[in-house]
């Protein structure tokens, strides 16, 4: 939309002049925002990052317990399993136990992600005759027609799936929150459109709270490169509503059921 952008700039200038005048500054004042945005991490932020790095196995177990306690009241199912094979078996069991919400076809959509690949779901679910759709990154982003077709195809498959399996970037123990960041091959719809969302994480991905998360995303060498990405979502339990006589119902629009598998091995 290059056409409208010139108008936008003119509007923006007027808008800012009005704000500056209202704040008692000269309308043309150049305000650089010095001191508003920290250029270096605070001691507190560094301590938070350091705390995550130095976390012992025992502390991690305690965080897992905290996560489980926080998950219970919001109906997030959390299960610790020793390895990828056990998670795959758990998902296969789930697939057998649950029927599709729309139609009769059982289909599962899964992210392209190293941890999910380790589960080898196409084999685990293939054994029980359930197709697994892996969401590949767009192969030729520069070709508009081909990429549109790829997107449409993928979207159709995700909409047709009743379970979506994703990894996660982090889990926040205090609020039982699954944190997903945006990457190619890991579409957000997999955690949104299917009736059941299954997330798989490893024990070391559990951190305490938003404070730790934000400190890591901003200041930790390993995480700050990607930062928040263009679309980050926090998911704390299944979708819910209380809009009819304040009675709580799960599955207003998002998944009705959310399960979190934690690989401990």
């Amino acid at each position: 939309m290059r056409v409208g952008d010139e108008m936008n700039t003119a509007n923006q200038e007027k808008f800012m002049r009005r704000i500056r005048a209202a704040l008692g500054h000269a309308p043309d004042a150049v305000r650089d925002g010095q001191g508003l945005f920290p250029q270096a991490p605070s001691a507190a932020a560094l301590a938070l990052c350091e705390g995550v790095r130095r976390r012992t196995a025992l502390e991690r177990e305690k965080l897992f317990d905290r996560l489980t306690a926080a998950a219970q009241p919001i109906n997030l199912h959390v299960q610790a399993l020793p390895d990828a094979a056990a998670v795959a078996a758990g998902i296969a069991e789930l697939v057998q136990a649950r029927r599709p919400e729309w139609g009769d076809v059982k289909q599962v959509a899964v992210w392209s992600h190293p941890l999910i690949e380790r589960l080898n779901l196409p084999r685990a679910l293939g054994d029980i005759g359930v197709p697994v759709i892996t969401t590949a990154p767009i192969t030729c982003p520069d070709d508009a027609d081909r990429s549109r077709k790829e997107r449409e195809d993928q979207r159709r498959e995700i909409v047709a799936s009743y379970i979506g399996v994703t990894a996660a970037d982090f889990c926040l123990a205090d609020t039982a929150t699954i944190v997903l960041r945006n990457r190619p091959g890991q579409p957000r719809t997999v955690a949104l459109v299917p009736s059941i969302h299954v997330a798989v994480v490893t024990l070391d991905q559990i951190i305490t709270d938003m404070k730790e998360l934000f400190a890591l995303l901003q200041w930790d060498e390993g995480f700050r490169q990607e930062g928040l990405t263009r679309y980050m979502s926090f998911i704390s339990g299944p979708s819910k509503t209380g809009d009819i006589e304040a009675i709580m119902v799960h599955g207003a629009h998002g998944p009705k059921e959310v399960r979190l598998y934690v690989v401990t091995g």
Partner: protein, 475 residues
Amino acid sequence: MSDITTERYVAEAKKGIADPVLQKALVFLQDRYGRGAAEAYRRLPEGPELRLTAHAIREKAIENLDVLLETLAAKIRGNGGHVYFAETAQEAVDYCLAVARRNHVRRVVKGKSMVTEEIGLNPALEAAGIEVIETDLGEYIIQLAGETPSHIIAPAIHKTRHEIADLFVQKLGIRRTTHPPELTQAARQALREKFLTADMGTSGCNQACAETGHITTVSNEGNIRMATTMPRVHVAFMGMERIVARLDEYEIILRLLCRGAAAQNIGVYVSYIGGPRRPEDSDGPEEFHLVVLDNGRSRMLADPQFREMLCCIRCAACLNACPVYGKIGGHAYGFAYSGPVGAVVTPLLTGINRAKDLCLGETLCGACMDNCSVNINIPRMLLALREKLAYGDAAWQVVPVSRAECLAYRAWSWLIRNRRLYEIGLKLAAVGQRFLPQVNGMIRRLPPPMQGWTLSRDLHPLAAESFMEKWRKGM
């Protein structure tokens, strides 16, 4: 601009008080969320004082609004998003219509947002021949019924399951059921179809973070995630004040927002949106637009008496604590914002004289401030509005509500400063009061124009001998 019915405050309030369904719902809401928020503040590791920290964060953001908004806009544009700054509601609506036209939009799914109510987006889109669907379950019910929301976070709280059942039978063609999970499922199915076929999704913005360049949306249902993920185009609207500088500040605001709104530690979904999808992403909107709205806010910003109101994060905790809202409900306020926040914001945005009854109706008890997630001194601003209504104010184009009342109080003020005349007045009144109806030695009714004073209480008659007279006689 959407229909503003704020002039009908008194009549609508009476209707609200007479509605037994609404009365029951209000008691429940205030009991659960009003008290719930207060308890949630107490349980914070930092304690309820975190609200004061949040107030300081919001104040700092407001004082640097130009810098923060420019930083946010630059980051979003860097990601390929568009940012439009709208001075008026009309400009914001026109921009959205232009985007819709360019994209041949026929169907819009809306994530709940107060600011789109404020600018009257729905009627404008509909007038352009575009189908608009509210997707928050409560808002959807209200839209099907052709009504307006009665509460910021629980818009359909005034409707019973029986009314909703009838509505769904009529509008969605379902088999009649009054079971809330089945009703929810019916709406889920109807709306899923809309999400998958809409060309444009709209949302508000709960709070933006300038430093990272994200807007964020919070929801429990997942409708906002759907509306901002499935359609090709996402247009987000934010009041220009809904921004903080840094991520660590944002963290504090988010925690308080969820506690204030619904006594939750966190909403089910919090989404951070920094632009449209990238070419290699397989989902998310192709186009992302952010519309930043002034619509009278810069006027509040310029007035030191009302600047504090821009700290508001629209959590609705004040509604859940207010004894007036708790009786009259949200419709009486006649604009997008109800309760104590509405009593301050509506006059400032739509005209102080026009919305005069809103601030006169509040009790000044301070419950709103105590329950406010960012500790805004709403009673102070209600008083400031009342002062303008009493004496007039050129800057805000306020004319005194009653010149007679203004004059009467001036006369009274002069009288009590002239002892002799005052005593003569007392003597006359002592004679006059004999002609008023009395019960058990109390005056039952005052004559017009003072009859309001004795509407719900009796008045002590003037003593035969005043205190001063006794004093002079040596008691």
